[in-house]
Subunit: 312 residues, 4 copies
């Protein structure tokens, strides 16, 4: 469409990483300009500065856990909002310059996060190889191509890009690993409810009295809102001071989720809402009796009647 520039999407680069692969799963990004960034912070700041429409960053991995940098960058700074999530099967390959054999590998490079996922394999297959930390899996592949390391652990995509040879495919210690990416944009009205939604929020406990987390969880539980992820993160002011990054089933537009959000807002020193968006796998939450929107609005109407006209 002449005159209208295509949307731009940032991702955790460089090219050839899993993030780029995940971005391809988003139709709107297919024809858009894709901007690789050197860090999650850079990708999110590009959103904040309005340079890109959205950024795709990894949030958690089924083996390695949460991506601390993403959690922390979303928890602080100018508010951002998750509008979508993408699940990507993560398959690591061991790649070398063409001709290198397994026995010739003295050094292996990748990011520590990936190294942790293939550690058992490396111990058994390359017990003598030395690990060199890379700044991304793709950069590890680049380093191998440049002769700075003998082998890289990276996405198969990177082998193509850097003309490397895959010696062994799917070497993760836990096969079937999945990484969850989130598409982050500037604040805007949340996408509509689909019936299969997730809400992400960061809760800063008011004071670290014993039982504060128990109280927080209880506010969700009494309203029938299930949590699918809870991650403590330090607030930076000392050991033992945490905030909690939480994924809850449901959408802020739903009564039970809205009331639970309001409750933790009252309970906590601060709450940052990070978005309500469709679940990538379409999983729908179970709904406990008494927690449907209809039951919430009926009960609220009943209370309103009691207040104005008394019991009927």
């Amino acid at each position: 469409m002449p005159g209208i520039p295509p949307a731009r999407y940032a991702y955790l680069g460089p090219e050839g990483t899993f993030s780029e692969q995940a971005l391809r799963a988003i139709p709107a990004a297919a024809n858009a300009e894709q901007i690789p960034c050197v860090s999650v912070a850079d990708a999110l700041d590009a959103v904040r500065r309005g340079e890109v429409a959205a950024a795709l960053v990894p949030l958690e991995n089924s083996v390695e856990g949460s991506v601390a940098e993403t959690l922390d960058e979303l928890a602080g700074g100018e508010p951002l909002q998750i509008v979508r999530e993408v699940l990507l099967s993560v398959s690591f390959a061991l790649m070398v310059r063409p001709g290198t054999s397994l026995g010739e590998i003295a050094t292996v490079t990748t990011i520590p996060h990936a190294e942790a996922q293939v550690r058992q394999w490396l111990r058994s297959q390359l017990p003598a190889a030395k690990f060199i930390a890379a700044s991304s899996t793709a950069d590890g592949a680049r380093a191998v191509a440049a002769g700075d390391a003998d082998a890289a652990v990276a996405a198969p995509l990177a082998a193509e890009r850097y003309r490397l040879e895959v010696l062994s495919d799917d070497i993760a210690d836990h096969p079937g690993a999945v990484t969850r990416f989130v598409l982050v944009s500037k604040p805007s009205p949340p996408p509509p409810t689909t019936g299969a939604d997730r809400t992400t929020v960061v809760a800063f406990i008011a004071d670290d009295h014993p039982g504060a987390l128990l109280e927080l969880l209880t506010e969700f539980a009494v309203r029938g809102v299930n949590l699918t992820r809870i991650e403590s993160r330090p607030t930076g002011v000392g050991l033992g001071r945490y905030c909690f990054s939480i994924d809850a089933e449901g959408h802020i537009a739903q009564e039970r989720v809205g009331e639970a959000m309001a409750a933790i807002r009252r309970l906590c020193a601060d709450v940052r809402f990070l978005g309500s968006y469709p679940t990538a796998d379409g999983s729908t939450p179970g709904e406990r009796k008494g927690t449907s929107d209809l039951e919430f609005t009926d009960a609220a109407a009943w209370v309103q009647q009691l207040r104005t006209t008394g019991p009927a």
Copy 2:
């Protein structure tokens, strides 16, 4: 005021009972017509039929506990509403026909509820006397006057009325007993909040799964609403099937009370609201951080903003 008949108030009679004494504590009833009824059920039915403006009935006693008949009559039938409570110090006297000495007492009469409160005294002072159940403390005094019993345990007021002699005053085993009466009228807008209010409600558990009561209490607790009385009552359909009569601190017009009421409405098979009214002793509830009306409305506004415009 010519042309306007005075209001009529029913009470648990006959004349000379503690209920009549309590009714005098209500200024509006002082110049009104006072109608003694033979039972709590009769007094409340007089309200339901519109024959009286309100009825004063006993709800609980600090020694003998709840008055089951009152709880059950309020929990069923046409809805009624508590608009006021009255506390009355209950002082029992042993009264006889003039000239009777302690040693001559072979039979003592009063209502079982009162007998229970002076049992230790009777055991030690009149170990051989036989107890005859009366239908009211005043009727016991009348029976003594008629020669059907030797002594009655009743309110001092009854001695005057039936020309009996008080042999011993204040004979309750637990001195300082207090009875709480409630003034019950037809449904109407609750009296305004005073800052020192109580809300009474009956909750019918949805199904008797283990932990149902725990869930009920948790709904109040998470919203900072304290309970001052909870009483289980059978629903009549079998052992182990109960409803709960509950007094909570605060007024239905308060956000935390309203949300708690809506929550138990969603949780329970049925909830009957019995009124929000000032506490007789002016006791004000403590307010837990995060549960003021302002905090509730602020949090609700925040959620509303998230729903419509996203995080700010």
Copy 3:
């Protein structure tokens, strides 16, 4: 058996009451001497003084609720122990002197507890009849025989005994009412576990801070011990000060029940154990995963090992 006097059993008399009928359901009492007492207190004191082997007293009724006198007499005084329970279907009959017709009944007598269970029937069938409180259902029948009242509401057994005529059978407002009686003896080792047992206990809250009852219930819930009855009773020191009479599923000899009992002992100002005994209806509690005796002892052994030798 010559030389050995038969055991003596007390019950809430007089003869002809439901208590006597319930006592017959206990084989050991069939050939024993049966002693009617004028009150629950008298029956229990007879046990305390060693005059009888045990006393059978009513604890609760499926329509009228707990029998306050029984709860209070068990909660105070010298310790006693429930060793058995009996369930009795309670069927009330309206009885008159032979020849009296329904239209001739001006006065009806029974105990208030029974009157409450037939109130609807009386209102519709005998709207003009006056109620006279009796001290027992049997005594009401005796009064009718003596001409002091026109009709009595009592157990059919009483009609036989006092040669009255039953005008109407089974007049209870809630058909199928059941009364639960307990057999009480002096403290002794509890009867062995049967797999279908109940434990009765009285808990005196340490201080009436909000949430004390919630804490109490949580101690049972976390250990998978279900409660089948909980009743608040005033402690006599003022409105708002309660103790709780509790029935829990299971036997003190079971690990989960024992640990829960120890927990409330630590939590409360005082706890009075009233016995573990077989349920009359053979109902067996569900057993939540992780709460069997085996799991308790395995876990305790594991902790003991950690303490002495560290993790294995």
Copy 4:
């Protein structure tokens, strides 16, 4: 002492890291042989193989949070035990080859974990500098000395070792950052209670039903055991499947901690005890009424008496 080899201690190397600095705080390690290891896994495996008496590894940092590799290595494999903790103030310095000025720095290297702690500083002072991931802070310093990068963020100790010049001291975004290290050995009887102890444990939820974490926390809370850290970690079998790494106040030898440990053992699919050991800062837990060792043993004795002789 001739004939007895000195104890050997492993630490997360290479030399010049914060781990080495922390190891010096342990008197027993001062004269021992100190073995740098290339990873936490290597350090812990050295303990498992018996090559060293113990290993010192970082567990969490007040800014960057838990060290995932340490949590995961302790949660799996042959059981190990924490016997001590060390707190170390973490102060980062920017170091260069002598003569390099701030304006000449084009590349900065350190471990990502450290980069995250100085990110704001780098953004404002060296906005154009490119970040190169190193495998340790000390290795970053080595790389600068070798000319592979212009500046390193590392412990001041590393500047000495690699003859670098400190351009700026204490550049962390959150001054006062603290890292907590744990000394890990093979299983053995835990060190004795000091009154200021901590217990570390990993709990594998039995099934991921909603509320499983709430149940887990409740088991600690009802026994008055406070948690000072809780960290979810994926179990590797899929998104949404977690275990929890937990620090609790108190010592396994204490009754309340032992009972809580037994409770989660019964509740969870698996529990791994990682040790009870003195807190580094001597912080003593508050003790809630009813949870002292004396109250636990008294209550247990009371239950035992009930079981054998009945109520006294």
